[in-house]
Symmetry: C2
Subunit: 364 residues, 2 copies
């Protein structure tokens, strides 16, 4: 077995999910994530955890959803499985990122609504999402398989403890701050974050972080004023989107444009009232991710980028008992901050042209 797969499995089980002897684990395996699943099973066996292996196939979901007619139910057996689980490990990596592209949106939404209690039960566990680098994901990234594997492991197999230490500095600044300003060539956006808590997303449930790789610090802004351009290309709901511009007044998007995919952005903004407001401000700090691969799990953590999400805010950023922005969606948009840019907290520059104030080469 490729030693990198073994290391990936150990990182997932030990660092990310913190699995202990006796834990009841659900191992969700995508169509082409078999090799990673074998490695994870060996680590789970060694740690004395119990495992149920589920098969997450987009082709199977597509066949089921297209054939289904009428109301969806919340299956009692599926709910029982997750209500009794301590951890869920999602091993992504299918055979075709568009495998379910011809399932209509209404069916998808109806099914999602019926399975909401199952999703909530899963979110109540120590869940972690990761991906096994597959040919399909390499294709999505426009890369050869070998090069994509190198890219993915460079992002996943980091010194997470050390990165967590570095990220804690930014978390402290955001926790103590009340206003963030992002400035670059065509962007000047001010966001209020007073009273919000930042998450040091260090790829571990111990840090309220559920993605491997991770490597970002994020918080939930509650107000926004100004204009922002997202120059990192993305795929949203199966459509390519480029150079999205949003103008905020009193926290709300009042104007927008996009060089490509404007209709998708219009649909997104019209989802509900919360879709016009920010749910997240995230700062990418994983320098193992050095290029865009059209996969949000990686793209939003890329070093020298900042992302904002329209829609739902994460509870982890909110004061106990307080509600953040609510919406059916949470869509991230990314902007490159490696050049001609600065990030200020309460007027102090904390990042300029991608360099943080605690790094060599930072110019105040």
């Amino acid at each position: 077995m490729d030693e990198r797969i073994r290391e990936h499995a150990e990182t997932l089980v030990d660092w990310s999910a913190r699995i202990e002897s006796g834990d009841d684990v659900v191992l969700s395996v995508a169509e082409d994530a078999h090799d990673l699943a074998v490695a994870v099973a060996a680590v789970l066996g060694d740690r004395g955890a119990n495992v149920v292996t589920t098969y997450a196939s987009e082709e199977i979901s597509r066949a089921y959803l297209r054939a289904h007619d009428g109301d969806f139910e919340t299956p009692a057996h599926e709910l029982a499985l997750y209500e009794n689980a301590d951890s869920v490990l999602f091993l992504g990596g299918g055979r075709n990122t568009f495998a379910a592209a011809d399932v209509d949106g209404q069916t998808r939404q109806d099914a999602a609504r019926a399975s909401q209690p199952i999703k909530e039960a899963r979110m109540d566990t120590d869940w972690v999402s990761t991906v096994h680098p597959t040919r399909s994901l390499a294709q999505q990234a426009g890369m050869s398989y070998e090069a994509y594997q190198e890219f993915a492991y460079e992002a996943i197999l980091r010194d997470w403890e050390s990165l967590a230490g570095e990220m804690s500095q930014l978390k402290s600044l955001l926790d103590d701050g009340s206003e963030v300003r992002l400035v670059s060539a065509e962007t000047d956006l001010t966001m209020s974050i007073e009273g919000r808590s930042a998450v040091n997303s260090a790829a571990s449930v111990a840090y309220d972080s559920h993605n491997l790789p991770s490597g970002e610090v994020f918080t939930a802004p509650y107000d926004a004023e100004g204009e922002v351009v997202f120059d990192v290309p993305m795929t949203i709901s199966g459509t390519r989107v480029r150079d999205v511009r949003l103008r905020f007044e009193a926290g709300r998007v009042v104007d927008f444009s996009a060089d490509t995919g404007a209709e998708t952005i219009a649909d997104l903004l019209d989802t509900d009232e919360g879709a016009r407001r920010l749910g997240e401000l995230g700062i990418g700090m994983n320098r193992g991710i050095d290029r865009v691969t059209d996969n949000i799990l990686f793209d939003e953590k890329m070093g020298d980028t900042v992302h904002l999400a329209l829609g739902r805010a994460y509870d982890a950023c909110l004061p106990e008992g307080k509600n953040g922005n609510d919406s059916a969606v949470h869509v991230d948009l990314i902007t490159d901050v490696s050049e001609d840019s600065r990030l200020e907290i309460d007027g102090d520059v904390v990042q300029r042209n991608g360099r943080f104030r605690w790094e060599d080469g930072f110019e105040a």
Copy 2:
């Protein structure tokens, strides 16, 4: 999609498992059974059933079991899943029939003991086992992939209703009979079946039958006297076995030999006291199965064969509240009855040289 896969899926869901709208189904998918799983998911969606898809990978089990040290537990989440399920559909078809050959027997037994409550919960559902014809199974059968597919679908896609009608005649004779005698060149064995019920195993839970394909009538003899030769070659616990001879006195094996695999038979007989006694007498009636493929799901249902199992008897054959032969094992051995042979019930010949008394060409 191959039309045969679609028909297989429909037969499984409708004829075999009798799945109805709202049923909570577990779909267990082996490594290479993906295409059948897609077809089954479409049928389940159309029927309005709910589905959880599990991944049954021998490679994953092997990795887990070999790494595991210490006691096994009964996982609460797995038990909850099956206790809340109405049906379990097992789609066999891995990539290597020896994928877990290097897991030691003790570990396997310890794991099986801990998961006994889960097995029981599964057996309490309307479960059905089938296989998707894979290259690995073709190899086990010594056949090309294409030829194996034809073989498998010939066995699976039968007129089950019609076969059930024919098999009911043999069931009646066995239910009413008290003694069965099997005679061929080197075999003369008499078994008591008084008070036992035969199962018309017509590949449907409606007939207490949980295999697709099926096509056998079986009962649970409680006494045996005489000698029997099993001339159909088999693989038992990974070892090839040929020409096993057993001599019974007062229901118990008192002497045995085998041209190949004698040690495996010796180990089997020494498992426990029940392993020396018969748990099943089965008569193969699926004429779609015309050759041995070294897969018990098919071999034991082959037309013109009779099989006997050492070990545990099935409850379905026993009078309400009565116990049958008990053992940790249930191992089938098969004998060819196409030539020089006869099967008698209470002295009446019901089958001679493979022909039943209700068939053309039968000679009383």
